[in-house]
């Protein structure tokens, strides 16, 4: 058994040989915004999930026009192959990849193992920030088939479609509504969306080097919890970053046809008046 779409992954060996390939752009997207500055893969540019990709005012992503501006400044053309990598097992790399797909970018890949594996293999990291000639990037209309809004979640609940909660067990059980000392990132209620199955994101990656687990392991992980390829699946976490990793796994490594990331996630649902909660 192989991954359903292995073309969405690249290995560190391959990338090391393609650092100067003009048809690719390497993009670092981290949880910690300073990591890029202390050293990144040669030729890589940075996007920050918060300061680059979020709308400056609303709780939303960049508009199509704003996104086009960001992509143009990074010297990305509509045909560039984008290779995303980052810290924390590629959470935010998957998040950035998901947003580029949301605006219609076709050629996207994740560096298997991300920063962790690249560092473990003692591959080069540089501080030099590359500059690329600006382009005129044209985004497509937002692809809502990969993004779930709260109303989609209500509909999925009614139709008893599968929801996957990828947070840690204590967040799922409702013992934690936020990370200790981080009350601003919390929700007023703890628990999970009724009927959601708990499959923490981390079970999809190898702890030792942050690479994805084998196709067999992934298949048995999700199918074992009755999350099967038929029908629509919605994944969520707290702010949508960990669930974008699960979204990537289900959509591209296992090839499930319809998977959505609910980026509102628990910080929306757990604060939403009148929304049903299970503990």
């Amino acid at each position: 058994m192989s991954y359903a779409h292995p073309e969405y992954l690249v290995e560190t060996d391959w990338l090391a040989e393609h650092l100067n390939d003009p048809n690719i752009r390497i993009i670092e997207s981290d949880e910690d915004p300073l990591l890029y500055a202390i050293g990144h893969i040669p030729g890589a540019v940075q996007v920050d999930w918060f300061s680059t990709l979020q709308h400056p005012l609303r709780r939303d992503f960049l508009t199509k026009e704003q996104f086009e501006e960001v992509a143009s400044k990074l010297g990305i053309t509509n045909d560039t192959t984008l290779i995303f990598y980052g810290d924390k097992s590629n959470w935010f790399a998957c998040y950035a990849l998901w947003l580029f797909q949301y605006y219609g970018h076709q050629n996207v890949k994740i560096l298997n193992g991300g920063r962790t594996k690249w560092e473990q293999e003692n591959r080069p990291l540089v501080k030099e920030v590359p500059s690329f000639e600006a382009t005129t990037y044209k985004a497509k209309e937002a692809d809502k088939s990969i993004r779930a809004f709260r109303d989609d979640v209500f509909k999925a609940l009614e139709a008893k479609k599968p929801l996957v909660d990828v947070r840690s067990p204590k967040e799922y059980s409702g013992e934690l509504t936020h990370m200790p000392n981080y009350p601003q990132e919390g929700a007023t209620r703890g628990g999970h969306i009724p009927g959601a199955v708990s499959i923490p994101w981390a079970q999809a990656v190898n702890e030792a080097n942050s690479t994805f687990k084998s196709p067999e392991e992934l298949k048995s992980l999700y199918e074992g919890k009755n999350v099967k390829p038929d029908g629509e699946i919605i994944a969520y976490c707290r702010i949508g970053e960990r669930s974008s990793l699960t979204w990537f796994v289900l959509k591209y490594l296992l090839g499930y046809p319809t998977v959505k990331n609910y980026d509102g996630s628990w910080t929306e649902w757990g604060n939403l008046v009148d929304a049903p909660i299970e503990k």
């Binding site: 915004p33 990370m179 000392n181 981080y182």
Partner: protein, 141 residues
């Protein structure tokens, strides 16, 4: 609001910096954080695992002969933002008395205007580490 003199100095420095200077300085603070002294290593191993999403911050306080409190921290190098913020706090507060440490308000960093360099969410690390430092100071204070 009166902050301990050293911390006030750091806050003022940051307030006058450009975005790029802030980033560079924060990185310098992260890189300058000393390693945890050998004598705390056993205690470090006893530290409980923290929930995912959070950077594991190990912190211990000691009182020196003249009554000032010193902090020792261990934060992974893979988390430069939290390391940088924590390093600002130890630089600003090492040697202060318990009263001085407890009097630092949780929003002391607002005049630094760091949110233009690091998102507001990441700045919550300040609040977290400061609360942690206060608890540790009370234990030895």
């Amino acid at each position: 609001m009166t902050l301990p003199a050293k911390l006030q100095e750091i806050v003022d420095d940051f307030a006058s910096m450009s975005r790029e200077e802030k980033l560079e300085t924060l990185i310098a603070y992260a890189e300058d954080m000393p390693d945890l002294p050998e004598r705390f290593k056993t205690e470090r191993e006893k530290m409980e695992p923290v929930p995912e999403c959070m950077t594991p911050v190990f912190l211990i306080a000691e009182k020196n002969a003249d009554g000032g409190i010193l902090f020792y921290l261990d934060i992974p190098k893979q988390s430069p933002t939290v390391r940088g913020l924590a390093s600002i706090l130890t630089n600003g507060l090492n040697g202060c008395t318990l009263e001085e440490i407890l009097s630092v308000p949780a929003d002391f960093y607002m005049p630094m205007n760091l949110q233009e360099a690091v998102s507001q969410q990441r700045l919550n690390g300040f609040i977290g580490v400061l609360a942690h430092m206060k608890q540790a100071a009370v234990k030895v204070g």
